[in-house]
Subunit: 356 residues, 2 copies
């Protein structure tokens, strides 16, 4: 007797760059225990060549392949698409998101959801009006490691009251050697370390220092210092202070140097927790050093990059008729972009979108 | 044939607390290779009992013992004293220093040299007028590890151009359990993490990010965030940015949590250096990870705490007739206290001395 067939969610993908590639590769992995079946039904790309290359590099000959469209609006119009995944550069998120929503599609939009709070609010308002699902793709929030970290800190309270945390995401990019048109160097493309790397330390501070998210979470005092070259932030330091409980976060991001393995350190009255891995976007281990106890190491290996954790959550939300996710609600996106706006304002990083 | 007898420097010690004890213990260690002989000839203390306890706990029966005075002015008046070491709590430094200088004594004054820049300037002016030697006892600057670190960074340039550094000095003090009169909690005694612990990360940033010291060194932009409880800073974050070369330092100090072993991390275009040890005041190892080369670990064990490194330098200065030291010149003390004043001002930590 066959088991009940899995429910299916059908994705339209925008963009063929690194993040779209990683996302789709993860979704088409064979995961017998997956709660839902992810079908990639449509791909929007700027050229047929890019589209074919993308599909051929990811899909095996016996996997169902997406229709390739060389314009995005055909993706929004495709009746075989339930949810549009936006994996294009930051500055294009808003326009694509609004168009997909207007066509009645649900949307999972890569982080940062947009360039500034004004854009994010516009996108949220549109989704609410249309009654579709919208989420910022802060994929790492859905990692089993992160969920377990939250449980250890806030439910088990294994290190007591949290006092300080440090999180760094540095990559040794040699930005000066990139063409000035490169996404990371180009102000017009939302360049800089903050929107690209800083979002990860901010993600960790959010889940570590507050057991709540979004509108239920506390707003910290923000202090920051950016190293700005040609208008773009190469190096960021963001200090968050929560006056009501004295918690502090020192968050750093850099395009000039590689973080150490132990990229996250959390201190509490009862000990320390260190999270380690190749980078803040690839956390692998939790090391708990509780006072008076032996050090405990938890290993979190998983197949692929781990984009399917968020995709499974999005599918469950959509299939259940929810318009936003409980782990990454829309108010959380607003909270984080507001911090980033403040950091940019103080540091003197201005995007053209800010003056609209 | 006997070797030439070593030159001798005669110390008068003020205070019998932890730092005076450690200082004197180190000075009376038998070090055959020491360039000078340190004699402790006088001790100033508030009580005979403390003084005897101090002397009996440190000096062996066949070591020359200091005269114990129960007032400080007898130390300044003692003709057997060349240099006065001030190891009393922060807020008493200025008065003792000025009195010792007025008596014509050279002075080595524990860090922080005083409570604020105004006091430090007053002390320096007095020493210059009287023509005596004065130095702030930033003992760790004289450690072989620190001198080698400077050589590796600025002469050998083993990690290329320096971009970022992180330094933390956190101690798990449980301040709330201390009596409110305790030096660390008491604003009237110059309490807080900054003057006590923050000076160490500031010391490291000074030697790591600038090959010069004092008036030849650059003044960084300072951004800071303090967690203040009852007027006293429990937790400090200081960000220094050097606009001319893009170097950044993230300096942290805390009375709420213990730093990790790898308390200092320096990143450059050519690799990273990590300095480790039990605390920022007890650096033990330098680990160099230069790009394309095998990791190299340098071990720096030394006898005692290592206060004799600075004491030897002070003795050499005084015996040579110098009025300040080349490694820790007076302009450097002004530079650092100016940063601490700015940090306190922004953070809202005000000592009564600030309003004089």
């Amino acid at each position: 007797m066959a088991a009940n067939p899995k429910q299916t969610i059908r994705w339209g993908i925008l963009g063929t760059g690194w993040v779209s590639t990683s996302f789709v590769k993860d979704l088409v992995l064979s995961r017998p225990s997956a709660p839902v079946e992810h079908l990639i039904t449509a791909l929007g790309t700027s050229s047929e060549v890019k589209g074919s290359g993308f599909v051929n590099s990811i899909f095996t000959s016996n996997q169902s392949r997406p229709t390739i469209y060389t314009d995005y609006k055909s993706v929004y119009a495709d009746s075989n698409v339930d949810v549009v995944y936006i994996g294009t550069p930051h500055v294009f998120h808003k326009e694509s998101c609004l168009a997909a929503i207007a066509a009645g599609k649900h949307v999972l939009c890569e982080k940062p959801m947009a360039i500034n709070e004004r854009e994010v609010n516009e996108m949220i308002a549109a989704a609410k009006e249309k009654g579709v699902f919208l989420m910022e793709a802060v994929w790492t929030r859905f990692f089993p490691l992160v969920l377990e970290l939250q449980r250890l800190l806030h439910k088990e309270k294994v290190i007591g009251d949290i006092s300080r945390m440090f999180c760094d995401f540095g990559l040794d990019i040699n930005v000066a050697s990139l063409p000035s048109t490169h996404r990371l160097r180009n102000l017009e493309l939302g360049g800089g370390a903050l929107l690209d790397l800083g979002v990860y330390p901010l993600m960790f501070s959010s889940v570590v220092l507050d057991e709540h998210v979004g509108f239920r979470a506390s707003d910290p005092e923000v202090t920051s210092s950016l190293l700005v070259v040609d208008g773009v932030d190469y190096d960021d330091v963001i200090v968050l202070k929560y006056p009501e409980n004295g918690r502090m976060a020192v968050l750093t991001a850099s395009m000039r140097g590689k973080s150490g393995e132990n990229f996250l350190r959390i201190e509490g009255t009862g000990g320390t927790i260190v999270v380690s891995g190749p980078a803040a976007s690839v956390p692998k281990m939790i090391t708990i050093s509780a006072k008076g106890e032996e050090e405990k190491v938890l290993d979190f290996e998983h197949e692929g990059m781990g984009f399917y954790f968020e995709a499974d959550a999005v599918a469950a939300d959509i299939l259940a008729g929810r318009k936003e996710d409980g782990i990454m609600p829309l108010a959380e996106s607003v909270r984080i972009i507001r911090i980033m706006d403040e950091v940019r304002k103080v540091g003197g990083v201005v995007y053209s979108q800010d003056s609209v």
